[in-house]
């Protein structure tokens, strides 16, 4: 039917009474496929059909799946992996740049009555069934320490115990822990709490009394003192109370703890050192700043100065990065505590063992066997402080 055929007729002829507009699904036309001839020219359509007919159906399906998968990948890359990867690369670049810098060349602060480095006697190195047991910050939790040693199956004659500092203060029985450590012949390192207690005792001995409020044991988050009760708060702070609770043998045990315990070479762990807080890579143990060895949490990669704050890069990140680039004989593993907030933190070259026992966390032990094979055991703690 051509256009002309209709046009020759008057319009009135097209009027009809049949207004039934219902479309019945029983009619064949209802199911007619919309060819979409208004989208693609039939010629093109034919071409596509010809081509796609040659490609097996299965392949076509795969193509769709591949396309979908790559879109997912692309999106996740753009949103998540990419930025992370970039951050990682940028961090490596910063580490590499930091490694090129000279380490600070000022003199190492040297202090009276403070051992910088002590070597662990070779007879204590793990050998045969003899193991080395390193325990994180005990903080006066004697019961938990005893329970942990029982769980480890500690044998006094074969195994050797090493405490990573902060064995005292906060918890219920600081003197008891010192006595136990002394009895077991345990090695120890000087933590920031031991440092403060020992210094305070020395100060009190030299100057008898003070007019200035002395910092408390945990002065990082100090407890506000009651102004009405200021007499108590500064003349007899918790720190001095704690200091007074120790007997002379206990104090001399604490005094014998070095800032750094050089354990020596243990197989796959290479050179092992025990400290309380951390170490700066590429600086000899003798030249480490003792205050920072007992207090550091982060390291400023611009100056390579460690810091107790959390404002910079975690020191152990930089430490691990630096160890990887070293020949095996120079690689060194640090066993440490101190960082309760970050908790147990095990990396290839750094073993953070403080899992917050005194505040209701766990007391963690690292059990090192001959050749450097090691495992971690822990007991739950009661929680004595918040």
């Amino acid at each position: 039917m051509s256009r002309d055929h209709y046009s020759r007729r008057p319009l009135i002829d097209q009027v009809h009474n049949n207004f039934d507009l219902d479309v019945s699904d029983e009619e064949e036309g209802f199911y007619a496929v919309d060819d979409g001839d208004y989208l693609l020219h039939p010629k093109w359509r034919a071409m596509i059909t010809r081509t796609s007919n040659r490609i097996p159906r299965r392949l076509q399906r795969y193509l769709v799946i591949y396309a979908f998968a790559s879109i997912v990948l692309l999106i996740s890359w753009r949103l998540y992996i990419g930025p992370q990867y970039a951050a990682h690369q940028a961090e490596l670049a910063v580490f590499d740049a930091a490694a090129q810098k000279e380490v600070p060349s000022s003199a190492t602060p040297g202090f009276k009555d403070m051992l910088q480095v002590k070597d662990l006697e070779t007879k204590y190195l793990p050998k045969g069934d003899g193991r080395l047991v390193a325990v994180g910050d005990v903080h006066g939790c004697k019961k938990e320490l005893e329970a942990l040693l029982k769980k480890v199956g500690f044998q006094e004659d074969k195994d050797h115990l090493v405490l990573t500092g902060d064995m005292i203060s906060k918890g219920p029985d600081s003197p008891g822990v010192v006595t136990l450590a002394d009895k077991l012949g345990a090695s120890c390192v000087r933590g920031n709490h031991e440092d403060k207690v020992l210094l305070s005792i020395q100060e009190a001995a030299e100057y008898h009394d003070t007019t200035i409020p002395r910092p408390d044991v945990d002065s990082v988050d100090p407890v506000p003192y009651d102004v009405e009760d200021k007499d108590v708060s500064y003349k007899n702070p918790k720190l001095l109370k704690l200091a007074k609770s120790f007997t002379q043998p206990q104090l001399s045990y604490l005094q014998s703890c070095p800032v750094i315990l050089r354990v020596g070479n243990i197989g796959s762990l290479h050179n092992v050192a025990v400290v309380h807080a951390g170490l700066v890579p590429n600086v000899s143990l003798e030249q480490q700043d003792p205050f920072q060895v007992m207090n550091m949490r982060t390291i400023d990669l611009e100056t390579l100065l460690p810091s107790e704050t959390r404002a910079h890069t975690p020191w152990e990140k930089y430490w691990n990065h630096q160890q990887k680039n070293k020949p095996e004989t120079e690689q060194s593993t640090v066993i440490y505590g101190h960082d309760r907030k970050r908790g147990k933190n095990i990396q290839k070259f750094s073993m953070g063992l403080d899992s917050g026992c005194v505040s209701g966390g766990r007391l963690t032990a690292m059990v090192i066997k001959e050749g450097g094979r090691h495992s971690f055991l822990h007991v739950k703690c009661k929680g004595y402080v918040d």
Partner: protein, 396 residues
């Protein structure tokens, strides 16, 4: 201990100061004789007019000087300690000239050694601070460009000194008494180069005056002319150590806040408990968190930067001491400018971290890893999708 050095205590009122001293002046041949010579009184109100010093340069055998009767205060009458009019680092009663930089350093070292050793012997709690603490950080010595020594005492120690040792004059016959502190064989002690014979010679000849400001009991900031609580004065050269007391700020909401009248303030935990170390070869107390205090006051750069251009000194790692630069720009001309540039550059570029290293003498810091890829991923649209896909399959 007391017997080993002579301690002469003189009554405050009866002690006549040589003012104006005309005979007992230091007669050091090394010093230039043309410095102005004006002396300050110790108590009497001076006439307000200020007479110029007459000097007659060019006369044979050095310049002659004639001192008029007019004496000038420095500062108002409420002020107890009066510095010389020619230089704030000298006590006008004992000095008529500044010392040349090189001998000043020796005299300062003699001062600090005698001061620390004496306080140690007296059991007065004192510790080093500020510039001296920075010197201790680097090599346990005074920095060569230092013009003064900074020490602090506890309020109790100040009360003790005021009550029992004010206006005491100290002389040291046996110089070896100043000796080093017993570091228990553990501290990484410096070579004994801290014992300079020149310094010992100075110590042997000198008398030192310990003078406490009677206004020490006034703990208020308002007493702004007496922020210095005491002085340890070399009675020949007029050089002195300012002694300031750390006081407890009981009205502060932060517990354990301390302050000095010179408006420095600290937290108790930064200073106490004190540590025992060594400074200029004598026992010295060091604040507990020494690094934190130094970083607060001078910035972390001051703890690592081995080139100190402002004073023209470089830290020699072999000798462990600050040595003067032999010529300007010896350690990298425009060193600071370069690092500043690098900083700006780093701040401008998106993915670079501000890594300008002030210590490696202007060397550009390499920010890209060696293989040249990665580290530069941009989240913007700068990169085409193809590049990203390429990186995805090849790069990772």
């Amino acid at each position: 201990m007391y017997i080993r050095y002579v301690l002469v205590a003189l009554v405050v009122g009866a002690w006549a100061l040589p003012s104006p001293p005309t005979v007992d002046r230091p007669d050091d041949k090394r010093m230039g004789g043309d410095a102005p010579t004006v002396f300050n009184p110790d108590g009497t109100r001076a006439p307000s007019s200020h007479q110029k010093i007459e000097t007659t340069p060019g006369s044979p055998g050095g310049s002659k000087k004639s001192i008029g009767n007019a004496i000038k205060w420095k500062g108002p009458a409420e002020k107890y300690f009066h510095e010389s009019t020619f230089n704030g680092h000298y006590d006008g009663r004992f000095a008529d000239r500044t010392l040349p930089a090189e001998s000043r350093n020796e005299h300062l070292r003699a001062l600090v050694r005698t001061y620390l050793a004496t306080m140690h012997a007296l059991g007065a709690e004192t510790w080093i601070m500020h510039g001296s603490l920075l010197g201790w950080w680097w090599n346990r010595r005074i920095m060569p460009w230092d013009s003064d020594i900074d020490v602090q005492v506890s309020e109790r120690a100040l009360a003790f000194l005021a009550a029992h040792h004010n206006m005491s004059v100290h002389a040291f016959q046996d110089v070896s008494w100043l000796g080093g502190v017993d570091m228990g064989g553990q501290g990484v002690s410096m070579e004994k180069n801290n014992h300079d014979e020149d310094v010992d010679a100075i110590v042997g000849k000198r008398k030192y005056l310990l003078e406490i400001n009677p206004n020490w009991k006034n703990a208020s900031y308002a007493d702004k002319y007496n922020v210095i609580d005491g002085r340890w004065i070399d009675m020949k050269t007029g050089l002195y150590i300012d002694i300031t007391s750390v006081r407890w700020n009981q009205s502060s909401p932060v517990p354990g806040t301390l302050y000095c009248k010179d408006r420095h303030h600290y937290l108790s935990r930064q200073i106490f408990p004190l540590r025992t170390s060594e400074f200029e070869g004598v026992p010295a107390k060091i604040p507990y968190a020494y690094q934190e205090l130094l970083a607060e006051e001078y910035g972390t750069k001051s703890l690592v930067q081995t080139v100190y251009r402002k004073e023209g000194h470089v830290f020699d790692k072999e000798k462990m001491e600050w040595v003067a630069m032999t010529r300007p720009g010896q350690y990298g001309e425009g060193h600071y400018k370069k690092t500043e540039k690098a900083k700006k550059k780093a701040a401008g570029t998106k993915n670079q971290s501000p890594n300008s290293n002030a210590r490696d003498e202007g060397k550009e810091v390499r920010l890209k890893p060696k293989d040249g890829r990665g580290g530069q991923y941009l989240m913007g649209n700068a990169e085409s999708v193809m590049t990203v896909v390429w990186r995805l399959f090849v790069g990772v």
